[in-house]
Amino acid sequence: MNARQLDPVDIAIAWDRLISITDEGAAALVRTSFSTLVREGYDLSVMLFDLKARMIAQSAKCIPVFIGTAPVTIAHMLAKYPPETLSPGDIIVSNDPVIGTGHMFDIAVMMPIFRQGRIVAYAMSITHLPDIGGMGFSAAATEIYHEGLRLPIWKLFAAGRRDENLVELIRMNVRVPEQVLGDVMANVSCVEVVSRQLLEFMDEAGFASLRPLADAIIGQTESAVRAAIAAIPDATYENEVDVEAFDESRRLVCRIEKRNDTLAIDFSGTGPCVKAGINVPLPYTKSMALYALKCVTTPKLPNNDGATAPISVHAPEGCILNAVPPAPSAGRHAIGHFVFPLILGAFERVIPERLAAPSGFINILTMQGRHADGRPMAATYFAAGGFGALCDLDGKATTPGSSNMGSTPVEIFEPLSGLVVERKALRPDSGGAGEFRGGPGQEVVLRNDTGNAMAVFSMANRTQFPARGMAGGQPGALREHLVNDRPIPTQGRYELAPGDRLILREAGGGGFGPPERRSKDKVRDDIARGFVASERA
């Protein structure tokens, strides 16, 4: 097939096939994983890279953090182990947050794919592990060294032989070794599935190399993104937001230079890191920025490195959006999620029709304690705030923005945690008013029925700085945590006594357009749907 030029039909078919190969890898991961974050929340990604380590296909289901971190990871892996030194059966791993996804829970597993003795592509799988030692999934650490096992870039398999020393090292450093190693091996199966499928496809299509296809995929995507960028007027766009950072607050600043068909994003002016695990390593910041721009420019196209080529991202080292060790980062999402609305907000005046107002974000809590029968208990709970409104669409209630974890059903969560969910209801009047209303958040009441004290680790945001409205829309309500009807701090550790009720009030999304333009009929409908409590909106 390489003898002749690939025509549009060939490309469309082969392109989709590469994506479906990564989707097949993802399906196997979800079904074998031990981590609720993987299977309920799809905290995973599977990717294919070409010989130049350009990402050419990515599984459709994943969360935004993986949009741009993997190319950084693979570049470092190949710098340490250059392609010419690799053999069939090598599998390289790393969970280093600085070159990865920003926290050590995520392990990247990479395998070079050999065909007739030569590398034709690379497969990579990343998942959130159930544990990595240290202080658990919380912001409790003050240095990265408290956060658990940091693996260097290392060969888990060399020419098909597993490095049992590395396995032993992991086993001795985590709380639930069987589950962690089970998940590591699920990633290994995944890259093997991807590799086998790719080789089958190349045989079938008669491709000796992926280069012409990769060039076409990257080239077409890049030109579509460039065309979308070119349609935005040349200018410097700026925005800033304030975020809560434990006992302090931080200002995030972005400045976007738009010239012709390129964008240069600079986060200079952003405040410094804090001594809590909410600092954001640069790859995560970059991912969120690229993700935001993809939503704005070419939301319907599959993601690959072509989408990122016209865009550069800079943040000064040491600022809270470019954390370096020893700054801890386990809960980097608490700050990192703000990058998305920060970027979108910069374009408010020029392309409002392509934006969404900021959302109320997702709340992530970790609970540790003992069940009534004495068994140890550890659980993670997600509760979404409201989504921001668009220029012609209300924000969806209780739908995550910036990230995309799903919720755990009450009937699954109760036996898992020993908590009783007394109530899970819409939170009226929490969505920002507007011609198009922001999505309302929710109120969840959790009662500690274990008979034992229970520690709750919270990394909540939107507790001081609401989701702003756009184009005259009102902000959403703030997030609040209460115990037995008394407010408690929203970032840090809190102990629930037996019988205590933890009340979570989730933040609303911002509205779009002036509220007085909303029709009476729609307001009546809002009341009937429980979005608004009274005619006051």
């Binding site: 549009p8 079904r31 299977r39 077409q220 509760a383 974890m405």
Partner: protein, 717 residues
Amino acid sequence: MLRTCAVSRHSHQVRQVADGTAGTLRLGIDIGGTFTDFALVNRDGARVAVHKQLTTPHDPAEAVLEGTRAILAAADLSLVDVAEIVHGTTLVTNALIERRGGRTGMLVTRGFRDLFDIGKEQRYDLFDLRLQYAEPIVPRRMREEVSERLRHDGSVMEPLDEQSVRDAVTRLVEIEKVDALAVCYLHAYANDAHEIRTREIVRALHPELYVSTSADIFPFMREYDRWMTTCANAYAQPLVDSYLSRLDDGLKDLGFSGSFWVIGSSGGLMPPEVARRYPVRLLESGPAAGVLMSARFGRELKQENILSFDLGGTTAKGALVRHGEPLRKYTFEAAHVYEYRSGSGLELQIPVIDMTEIGAGGGSLVWLDELGRMRVGPKSAGAEPGPVCYARGGTNATLTDANLVLGYLDADFFLGGRMKLDAAAAATAIRTGIGTTLGLEAARAAWGIHDIANENIARAFRMHATERGFDYRSCGMIAFGGGGPIHAARIARKLKIPLVIFPAGAGVMSAFGMLSGAQSFEVMRAFPRALDGLSEQEFSRALEAVEEEASSFLLASGVPSAAVRKNRRVDMRYRGQGYEIEVPLPDDLTSAERLKALPGLFAERYRQVFRAELGEALEVVSLKIAAMGPAPQSFTTGMKPAAGVDTALKGHRPAYFPSRRGLVDCPVYARERLVPGATIEGPALIEEAESTCLLDSGDRARVDEHYNLIGEIGVGS
């Protein structure tokens, strides 16, 4: 539980058949989007007649009754000669799509009225900020909270407040005028006492209300899914009840006194009384019947593993048959509201034949995406206006137009010549719509459309099979539906499937499938237990309870207890995982052996699916029992050729075969003239009135003794 409530009328019907007061014929009726199909077979297992009738969407019963009259009249028969009618319908699917169900109220555990508005708290597309979600079936003002609460182990945390039930129902009936009610309480799968008591209270107050309780409809953990399914069931009840009554009356008026069955989503036959009670189990009932037929062909042809491939007017459907049995699952998403996207519909928990369905049918529209890449489907031209070549006002090229331009369809022999196609208009639409933009001539563009559809279908099937650990490369494909036989050989080639079976009667295969279903009912119960703490006695007792429940309905409809077969499956996983795999229990194990066998059976299945073994502790999640009546008598779907025709070759026409570098003068055969033992080498087209088989260069087919065409793919290349 009241599963056996009203099946006595049916056992009366069975006796009538036995007495010989009714006839001996069996009639299968499948309502599809465009056509309602009929298939008639006799007691000797011979095909008597087939028929296609335009569907009447305003009242589907009309086409059913009209077509029933027509097929019998043409064969010089009457309904008195018919012993049994098996029926499949899209009524429930359409009611959910068009929101034409009953006025439905909901009673729900206090604190959880807003669950449907809160949703699953996840976006189904990461980049698209404009996502839309299906509206809840029951509007919020028609949901009322009731004071009661159970724990996850079924124990009572707060007793049912009966007065709160009465107050809620009174308001829903008097103010909201509901005619159906869904009762949805937390943890009801573990204990249904509060739901049952609520139903009693409602019955006493308002005996005319249709009531569905969540533990009865689908006793499954995960409240959002269970409640959604319960609401859908209540919503469909008034509609299905009145439809089945109209049909029943109409058939009686025509003189029918035999037994009447409705086929469910899982392929099991239900008497009308059960269908009225569980109408949500009628979703996808027609396509399920086609898969049953594939399974039957597979068994007869000694092909244990089958990929069943059905291509109709709007979609292509694939299903897997392993060791002669269709794979099943327990989730089905209906009524998508945003670009046919998975996640934008109503996710319902019902036992269904596990099918993958993609928007690639004859009517699928061709378009260019924002990169200028050619796309086929999922939007469809439907029956109105239909493909351009139907000359009924369509202007946008479709897959059928491409197949016509490529020479695979004969403009003068569509539906046996009953419908003339406009080939020139099809070519123009492809040239102007796509070809010019891409700089491709009509034939090359049409090939692109055909091949993209094949690739989309192959990809969906590959995904579907891989997720289920099914090695499609060694299975056989069975191709049917109006368009399946044109695409099958090439899709098989992409999937490395060596064998494609083109059954006789492929165009009305689902109607035939109705007649190969057995009576059956499936019950699933949550049974979360760590395997190491589970006693043999507890396990056996739990299995027996579910078995008893599943068989009770068959026994009540007159199936002798000795004839009831039971299929036992256990959902298991490594402790800590969130998804389970289904472990079938072999029939030959004694109840004492079953528990001991579980670890070995699980390890074997897990290795097959994920090529790994972890050595972790195991847990049981749920028990599933399907109780089945005896399989109906077998029949053939082919017809003996009329005597006196010595050649099946009808002639030649130009058709596009890239394997032969473009247009070739392709031989065309008449399917009804092929005799057993005949062989055909590709490239070739084999036509019958309802469908056309395509063999590519290198493929070879022979006709078996039942007039099925057995294609070997790529043997000559």
